[in-house]
């Protein structure tokens, strides 16, 4: 075990996969010589050379498109979008091509690409460096969307994403990069895509969330435990397709469910989670399903007080959890 930051876990996973399988290569803006704007690919250019760590033009559609083409020819590209906010020009490639090729070709072709993208707010990144974009892709069968919350999950899931034979979007919370440090095994391991994980066992209320919000919920849960409120916290880890079994079990466990995302509330991942619970758990529910999310405002503001208003934080989570527990 070594203590690693979230971003070190990402780099380690990339490096180990590149050593393990020479078909794995990286492409993206500034990923090579510079080692990435967040330094996720630090040292890889030196170790694996320019042919396996490609600096691309500033054209997300091309990054995705080149990656998809290479993947169809048997390579295992890991494409990096510098910020998830800039993935939008690549949406046509991802949704129309990557997600559909296996289906369209009647299983003759597949696209084993991983597209990494830092997302999320709370870093004074303002409009174009703070967004959560998972919900845009979360109704595209053929795609998988992984959003790990811890260094351990990040390493195990990124390896699983690279080895997956279909396209995986891999969103990393940029505030988590250097904020979170934890023990990560040095040896090779993969975690299953499509499986949620219980991050805390409890009996009073169930919190289902993903990404950085897991940590807000865990912090609030520790505080509330002193008041005798015992929270059950589930990390979705894969937000598409959702782990329905785990969601249903967690909701039934306490009958009081709080769903959290830092994305805008309407049409977010947690709306689908709420629908799954409503479809399956009516007679176990003891309270209305509660959602805590960003406001339905076009983007994260730059002004610190406004950013604070927009962002989910431990205080907001604690307040919502207490309200639900008392209901």
């Amino acid at each position: 075990m070594t203590v690693m930051s979230y971003i070190q876990a990402i780099t380690t996973a990339l490096r180990e996969e590149m050593i393990r399988d020479e078909k794995v290569f990286i492409l993206g803006e500034d990923v090579g010589v510079k080692g990435g704007v967040f330094r996720a690919t630090d040292g890889l250019y030196e170790e694996f050379g320019a042919e396996r760590v490609l600096d691309t033009p500033l054209a997300e559609s091309a990054i995705a498109g080149v990656g998809i083409g290479a993947a169809m020819y048997g390579m295992r590209p890991v494409a990096e979008m510098q910020f998830a906010d800039f993935i939008l020009p690549a949406v046509n490639q991802i949704i129309s091509e990557a997600a559909k090729i296996r289906y369209r070709s009647n299983n003759d072709w597949n696209v084993p690409i991983t597209i990494r993208a830092p997302y999320g707010g709370g870093v004074h990144g303002a409009l174009y460096h703070s967004q959560s974009l998972e919900s845009i892709f979360a109704n595209q069968p053929g795609l998988k969307i992984v959003m790990p919350s811890t260094p351990y999950d990040a390493k195990g899931l990124l390896k699983a994403a690279i080895r997956d034979n279909d396209p995986v979007l891999f969103f990393e919370h940029k505030r988590a990069y250097r904020l979170l440090k934890a023990d990560v095994p040095e040896e090779d391991y993969v975690l299953p895509i499509g499986k949620a994980d219980i991050k805390r066992e409890g009996t009073d209320i169930t919190i289902i969330t993903y990404g950085l919000c897991i940590h807000f919920a865990l912090q609030a849960a520790e505080k509330l435990a002193e008041e005798g409120i015992d929270a059950h916290i589930v990390d979705l880890r894969t937000v598409y397709p959702l782990d329905k079994e785990a969601i249903i079990a967690a909701a039934k466990k306490t009958g009081k469910v709080l769903l959290i995302t830092e994305d805008n509330k309407e049409g977010s991942i947690i709306g689908e989670v709420a629908a799954i619970i409503a479809e399956n758990c009516l007679f176990d529910l003891d309270a209305p399903i509660m959602r805590l999310a960003g406001p339905d405002v076009p983007a994260m503001p730059y002004s610190p007080p406004m950013e604070k208003f927009f962002m989910v934080n431990p205080d907001k989570v604690e307040k919502a959890m207490r309200e639900l527990a008392e209901f």
Binding site: T203, G255, L282, F283, D286, F327
Partner: protein
Amino acid sequence: MAKEKITMPQLGESVTEGTISTWLVEVGDKVKKYDPIAEVLTDKVNAEVPSSFTGTIQQLVAAEGDTIAVGELMCYIETEDGTVADSPAITANNEKIEPVKETASVDQSMKKRYSPAVLRLAQENDLDLLTVTGTGKGGRITRKDIEKILNESSAETIPSQPVLEEPVKHELQTNTVAPDLHQGDIEIPVQGVRKVIAQNMVRSTQEIPHAWMTVEVDVTDLVTYRNKLKASFKQQEGFNLTFFAFFVKAVAQGLKEYPQLNSQWAGHKIIQKKDINLSIAVANNQELFVPVIKNADEKSIKGIAKDIYVLANKARTGTLKADDMKDGTFTVNNTGSFGSIHSMGVINYPQAAILQVESIVKRPVIIKDMFAARDMVNLSLSLDHRILDGLICGRFLARVKEILENMNEATTNIY
């Protein structure tokens, strides 16, 4: 000045309603906060309701004899919490804050809003939600409240459980559908302790397959011994050394050796209780109580006699507390005090058995082919045949008989 409501307080965990037996105040009376304003008879005990405010009683909404649900209005009181010039500001503040808390704690606006989970659990387990006290917002019954009740009732079914009271209540009501009432007949409302007795007896006889068994015990030595001590004991201790204390002691010893009888039926399992807490039946004119001698096996005969004395006194004066009556594990009933020589007791639910100690009677008995005048007593045991069988009960009775027949000055110390 403000008009405040005083509502029926929660006078015990499982208590849902209370009957006002006496108003201790009249309209116009000034009362201080915590002063008793009424005596209330609940399912279990008589209790005094304290005033939640300092002020003047304005209107008695409920009349004596009315049964009021917990949280419902009893009377109005006019408080003196206004900013009257001559009242010190601090007192005014204090009194202002308190009533707010009181009303908040009895907010029952959500009491009848049931979540799907609560409704399902109530239906699956035949639970009357009106008898459940909610801990959620606005008195809402939460899923956890129900789960707690279900856990408790499966672990240990105590008589005050609303879960099991319900079908019995129903039974009582159907029995009174067509009253045959003639002029001059007296109608006595069934409420309070009477109602509980009725419910418990119906439940016990309906649910428990009773079986009976009686043994005859020669207590001549015990009678001699006790009669010898009687006067000096009374002088020294100030209360009577009753025969009953010896019987309780012998039963406690017997239960220690045969713990199977010191158990409870709990649906899918039998719970053998560790403590030996003996319920004793004590009656006053209208009512029957079963206060408990706790850990009777650890007490001397004197200690038991003292407990009996204290509990009987409390029963007579109506001052028994709920605590005095809980956790009984086996009942000993002193039917002999009425001269009964044989009876078949109804088991004190959810216990496994009850022992009737009958009258001690001097009778001719044949010993070694000769008549002798001996003090004889019958011990009649009723047993829950789900838990117990004749064999073990026979052995238990034989053991109690053996202990009693060997109680004399040489073998038994009362201290």
